[in-house]
Amino acid sequence: MSEIKKQDDNVIMEKIRKDLLTPMTTFPLGYKIWIGSLLTLIAMAIWAYYIQFQEGLGVTGMRDYVSWGLYIASFVFFVATALVGMLISAVVGLLGQKWIIPISRIAEMIALAFVMMAGIVIVVDMGRPDRLLNVFIYGRFQSPIFWDITVVNIYLIISFLLLFLPLLPDLGIIRNHMKKDLPKWQWNLYNVLSLGWVGTPGQYKILHRTIRVLLIMIVPVAMALHTVTSWLSALTLRAGWDSTIFGPYYVSGAFVAGSGAVLIAMYFLRKYYKLEDYITDFHFDKMGKLMVLVALVYLYFNINEFLVPAYKMKTADAHHIHTLFSLHGEYGVMFWMVQIFGLILPIFLGFFKRFRKPFPMMLIGTAVLVGAWYKRVIIVVPTMIHAFLPIQNVPEEFHHYNPTGIEITITLGTIAMAVLIFSILAKLFPVIALWELAEEKGVDIEKDL
């Protein structure tokens, strides 16, 4: 009996290894073009940043009144999307949902890539990045900016650990089986990174416990991360930001953005890595339902966030609401496009099983993610145009915010950078945890696989 079982294990592992590790060794033309175009965008952004660094922030569209533009909107977007690591692995994972096994590493990779860019885009927004250290030297504990810097870095470290720790058994497998398939440097890298993993019960015990503690830890850290990010706005008295629900509003919005990003990544990885056996329609169905759930929560917060001030119409709020709600307002079209295509339509379509299939889900995920980015622009920019004191005796351009080409290039570059980091991570490491899959299929994993 045990003989049959043993053979079984080997057959299963053989298939898993073949399916999941082969994409790491091939570099098809499509991947090269993809990386090449991302690098081109990044190179353009670096050139644009060089100009911005030389000339100062005057080359952007930001002026005295709108001093937070695309960069800070992108920062909030990156932080928001990064929160999906916590949603999938911790919230859903700790609830004992097994269907997240093939996608939890994808979520962690997105989290790491996006939170890294969140930190970098803040520096991009600084006119004098050489004074970055002053934030730490002179920062006030009373300022949410200080807390934000702290918590972004902590979330980065925990995200890294939550990506790295579950990789250990996989790195052991790669080290054991792929010596001849990989270049020497790459095999050496995996050999070192595997930390001598052999899959003894002792090692698994430590691994399971550490991952579990970190998964619990990341829940409050992630909540703090996005709540503090929301406080950057909400602790001011400005129309549109002066809201008590900004924390949960941001967190729920983050889950929506993150779900969109995961859906897109799932679709393309499944398609190009040929993972149809692992990321199945069932996973898209589940992920679609999760997306609908978090989007409904976000819709609820949206209604609260806009209906309450729109009912009272306090003077400054009224200007702000008019800009957003009226199709003739400066941001009206953007606002309704975002709310309809980025929130209401995805919820509606997500209710139908026929839309919770891979391709429609990818399209919906794209709409959600693009909508999420524009939503952050809507949260950040219009408020700054609606100061309580009248804006007078300033040049006409101060009254509006029109991002310049340089600014847009840099912003696109940061997004490309996040996608590039994810693309490299997904090429360098297996996108699905082999050992978790094996464990799920009943393979005895407590040995050197």
Binding site: L165, G196, Q203, I206, S326, H328
Partner: protein, 305 residues
């Protein structure tokens, strides 16, 4: 486009307002008052008194009065009562009735709020913008003397303050055109307290008495930390002014709200609880991270040697 919509909306709302007003306009004119004339003397005293009643009760809606041919205010807004059309189209008695009973909608009745005398005074004030108006003169000569204007020049303006009684006295001295000293009677004097933004009026256009002085009381006015305030006396609408820095009380000690530990203070005044939260939270999480890294070493130690 956006403007067009706004314009259309405002047009609609204004027309609704007008329609509403027209329908509700319901002036009651008492027949016995229809042709009545001003029941007080039309002189400077009553006009001035009328101005102060107007400023307190009517100005909020009717704004500053100015003489003009036709009412220039937007339809639906309270009209400029200095327009000729209104002044010629209404007898004193009609205005009195309108003022007393209101029109049942936008114009409230003032019967209960203003005495009959005050109502006539306001009418006198309105009429003062209409040149062709001829009101009843005072019966005896005495009232006319009150209206006698000081024609000379103010040569000296003294502003004094008595700390105990809190009375401000403004003493004027003047001379006539040939340089002889005269007592400036019936000269309008205003007294203010100087503030950072604008000035706080204590009395406006008070007329000097036979000795050429006015007195006014200083109420409960905040002072600087040393107990001083600056008074300003202004004669003839600011043609001659005087300033005096006077001590009102012994002063007080100002406490800077930035002193002490607050959320809005500088970093060295961070509240303790916030520091505990920050360092407590951060160190706890960093501790867990450190522990996790330690576990990596333990996994490394369990490798096959």
């Amino acid at each position: 486009m956006k403007k067009n919509i706004l314009n259309i909306l405002s047009l609609i709302s204004i027309s609704l307002l007008i329609v509403g007003n027209v329908q509700a306009q319901n002036w009651t004119i008492d027949p016995e008052l229809k042709d009545a004339q001003l029941k007080i003397a039309y002189d400077e005293a009553s006009i001035d008194a009328g101005k102060s009643v107007y400023d307190k009760n009517c100005k909020a809606c009717h704004l500053e009065i100015s003489a003009e041919e036709n009412n220039s205010r937007a339809a639906g807004a309270a009209p400029n009562l200095g327009n000729k059309e209104f002044n010629k189209g209404n007898t004193d008695g009609e205005i009195f009735c309108k003022l007393s009973h209101g029109n049942g909608s936008s114009m409230p009745p003032y019967e209960a709020m203003l005495s009959e005398d005050d109502r006539w005074k306001v009418i006198a004030y309105m009429r003062s913008f209409c040149e062709s108006y001829e009101g009843p003169k005072a019966d005896d000569g005495a009232a006319a003397v009150v209206a006698e204007k000081f024609e000379g020049e103010i040569s000296k303006l003294d502003l004094s303050f008595d700390k105990d009684s809190k009375v401000i006295t403004v003493q004027l001295e003047g001379k006539d055109s040939s340089g002889n000293k005269v007592v400036p009677k019936n000269v309008k004097v205003s007294v203010f307290v100087k503030r950072a933004f604008g000035q706080l009026p204590l009395c406006a256009d008070k007329k000097t008495d036979d000795k050429g002085q006015i007195t006014t009381e200083l109420g409960d006015v905040p002072t600087d930390t040393a107990g001083f305030i600056t008074l300003i006396a202004s004669v003839n609408g600011g043609k001659t002014t005087a300033e005096a820095n006077v001590q009102v009380n012994e002063g007080y000690t100002w406490v800077n709200p930035l002193d002490g530990t607050h959320l809005w203070a500088t970093r060295d005044k961070t509240p303790l609880w916030l520091m505990i939260m920050y360092f407590g939270g951060t160190l706890l999480v960093l501790g867990v991270i450190g522990w996790s890294v330690l576990q990596l070493f333990r996994i490394w130690n369990l490798r096959e040697r």
